[in-house]
């Protein structure tokens, strides 16, 4: 405990910590983010309705405006209900949960692929590097949203209809994850090539450390700042990409709604005056992405990795 306190003291005594405490944007964003994450994690406990279980849907309660009771059933809904009688608050909570989950796992996926390949590429150079970077070039020649759309679209073609919905979430994760690795790989490769020339690496090479130790103990910790910055920014980007895929109908199915799916179905009601079906998921999406971006911005300013 004491060590922990000391660590915290050290953290906030440091320049980064100080800048953090002095940045109302970063502080506020963290708060918002923590609340949203807590709400997403606690969705099954917090949500008045389990929207993943179709039995809990009551069609008669449909189209209730927010902060009012349904005329037929008398149930009160703070965010209103959609045309299926789905409580928009619950749907938003669950949607946030799915969106965050997808984005997080996708970021982890692209990060692990990208960082690994970037480390290998930058460290070994030569043919390995050339091969990896050519693959990256090919992938870069196709914009990320396309790759995601293609993976998503092709998987729909290939998968049997029965498993399509069940596997949709993995496909979306895969699609976003695979489309994002190049940024990490390129940045890490660049950073590794810089680090490799630095003398502490030469010193470590002189004692003949095994490659794995070299990479993990010496190089990786020194390139983690750009990784952290990219990861933060791409977390927001992944959330948006997922929403976009779902909006285009190439993402998550309505039975497993993410924020994008909710917006997609809500759009049809926006002009009909039932704004709340779209508004709450959209506002949550914006808040989530904005909070992460503000944090990412701050991180970028503070950590100041070059070339981002």
């Amino acid at each position: 405990m004491k060590r922990l306190t000391r660590k915290f003291a050290a953290l906030f005594g440091s320049d980064i910590g100080h800048s953090y405490l002095r940045s109302p944007g970063a502080l506020f964003s963290t708060m918002v983010l923590l609340i949203l994450i807590a709400a997403a994690l606690g969705a099954p406990l917090l949500a008045p309705q389990n929207i993943l279980d179709p039995r809990t849907l009551d069609l008669l309660s449909a189209n209730t405006p927010p902060w009012s009771a349904n005329a037929l059933t008398g149930h009160f809904y703070s965010f209103g209900t959609d045309d299926q009688g789905r409580d928009v608050l619950s749907a938003t909570l669950y949607g946030t949960r799915v969106s965050l989950l997808v984005a997080l796992v996708a970021v982890l996926l692209s990060m692990s692929i990208g960082v690994t390949l970037g480390l290998i590429s930058g460290y070994f150079g030569g043919r390995t590097d050339a091969a990896i970077m050519r693959i990256a070039d090919v992938q870069l020649s196709i914009p990320a949203i396309f790759i995601a759309l293609l993976i998503s679209g092709l998987s729909r073609t290939l998968l049997a209809p029965g498993v399509r919905d069940t596997l949709a979430i993995y496909m979306v994760i895969l699609a976003i994850g695979i489309s994002g690795w190049v940024t990490y790989a390129r940045t890490v490769r660049g950073a590794v090539m810089v680090e490799k020339q630095r003398e502490y690496v030469q010193a470590a090479l002189m004692i003949g450390l095994p490659t794995r130790t070299m990479l993990l103990r010496h190089i990786l910790p020194n390139v983690r700042r750009p990784i952290l910055v990219i990861a933060t920014i791409s977390l927001a980007l992944s959330i948006i990409t997922e929403a976009t895929l779902s909006y285009l109908g190439a993402g998550l199915p309505p039975t497993q709604p993410s924020l994008g799916t909710l917006i997609r179905s809500g759009q049809d009601f926006l002009f009909a005056g039932e704004w709340w079906i779209l508004f709450f998921p959209a506002a949550t999406l914006l808040t989530l992405a904005l909070a992460i971006n503000v944090l990412g911005d701050w991180l970028r300013d503070v950590l100041n990795p070059r070339g981002l």
Binding site: R134, D137, V138, L140, S141, I142, P143, A144, I145, F146, L149, L150, S152, G153, L154, R156, T157, L158, A236, I240, A243, T244, Y247, L248, G249, A250, G260, I263, Q267, L270, F271, L278, A282, L285, L286, A289, L290, I292, N293, V294, D297
Partner: protein, 325 residues
């Protein structure tokens, strides 16, 4: 320059070849191409005949070479949804997408550079603060939400601008343009803005960051120390240096604008290739998907080549080395 260009061109080939291969593989292995062509009630003989005709019984690499050969002649097969040659379908819609993409690119670049320079030079002015906050919001908002918002405000509430389509178009050769009619301009405004929003913020932030960095560089310090006028320092000495990385990114952005046009075209029902692509995904129309992939990556690669050449013209250091590292 020629040498550089040729070398650059040579490096494009592997990329295009791999993309062609992916596209071929998609066409070939996803779904049943014979079934797609023959329809449901084809007999076994029909199948065998068509297979022989198309060379489906030949070794894999020969088929691939043939695919590349056909592709080079512009033959990408028949759409399984519409039943027309894929290339015709794409060419028909390409002008719409390119017009939209180029106009938003123009928006994004001009506004992005102007605002970027301003936020870098006058960080505390009201407009700078607004643009910085706005840019944060714009990167946090999905493209389609911006589109929906614009439609809601400008089409539904105010009724100023149309919410869908291209308006009246004019045919010039095989190209159709909406930029010669008033309704065409009205129609392109909202989609172009919504498509440009995200890219604009990226350019703005990049220009700002680069500008700030350049302003701290020794040669700007030296230029100031020599008493060069501010205007010259900001808009000539600093801006040109800022442009070097911006040009690279701008190339990528144009590609990504074409990609994101898929979303905008869906929101605004813009009759371009993006909408065609989305429909082909919905209808599992593999030939269109594969061809679009190929064409888009071709455009992308072409843009990158142009960018490299601009880069080359912009930065004398490259001309000395004769290449880009």
């Amino acid at each position: 320059m020629t040498g550089f260009f040729l070398r650059r061109l040579a490096s494009v080939f592997p990329v295009m070849l791999v993309t062609a291969f992916l596209s071929f593989a998609a066409f070939h292995f996803i779904g049943d191409p014979l079934q797609n062509m023959l329809g449901q009630e084809a007999s076994a003989q029909d199948r065998a005949r068509l297979a022989a005709e198309l060379g489906f019984d030949r070794p894999f690499y020969i088929q691939f070479l043939k695919f590349v050969g056909f592709a080079l002649q512009g033959d990408f097969g028949i759409s399984t949804r519409v039943g027309r040659p894929v290339l015709d379908l794409i060419l028909e819609r390409l002008p719409a997408t390119l017009e939209l993409a180029l106009l938003s690119f123009f928006f994004a670049m001009s506004a992005g550079i102007a605002l970027g320079v301003m936020t870098a030079l006058r960080p505390s002015s009201a407009l700078s603060r607004v643009s910085m906050t706005g840019s944060l919001i714009a990167v946090s908002l999905p493209n389609f939400l911006i589109g929906i918002g614009l439609i809601y405000v400008f089409s539904i509430k105010l009724g100023w601008l149309p919410s869908f389509g291209r308006g009246d178009t004019v045919k010039i050769g095989w190209w159709t343009t909406g930029l010669l009619t008033k309704s065409g301009w009205k129609a392109i405004l909202l989609p172009a803005i919504s498509l440009a929003a995200y890219q604009l913020t990226l350019i703005l932030r990049l220009v700002r960051a680069e500008m700030l960095e350049v302003m701290h560089s020794d040669y700007i310090r030296f230029a100031r120390a020599r008493g060069l006028p501010k205007r010259l320092i900001y808009f000539s000495y600093a801006l040109k240096n800022t442009m070097v990385p911006v040009v690279t990114v701008a190339g990528l952005q144009l590609g990504s604008i074409i990609a994101f046009a898929v979303v905008t075209e869906t929101v605004f029902q813009w009759p371009g290739v993006g909408l065609l692509f989305i429909n082909s995904i919905r209808y599992s129309d593999v030939p269109i998907m594969a061809t679009y992939l190929l064409i888009v990556s071709f455009i992308f690669v072409a843009i990158n080549m142009v960018v490299d050449c601009i880069y080359y013209l912009l930065d004398p250091r490259l001309r000395a080395v004769g290449g880009i590292k």
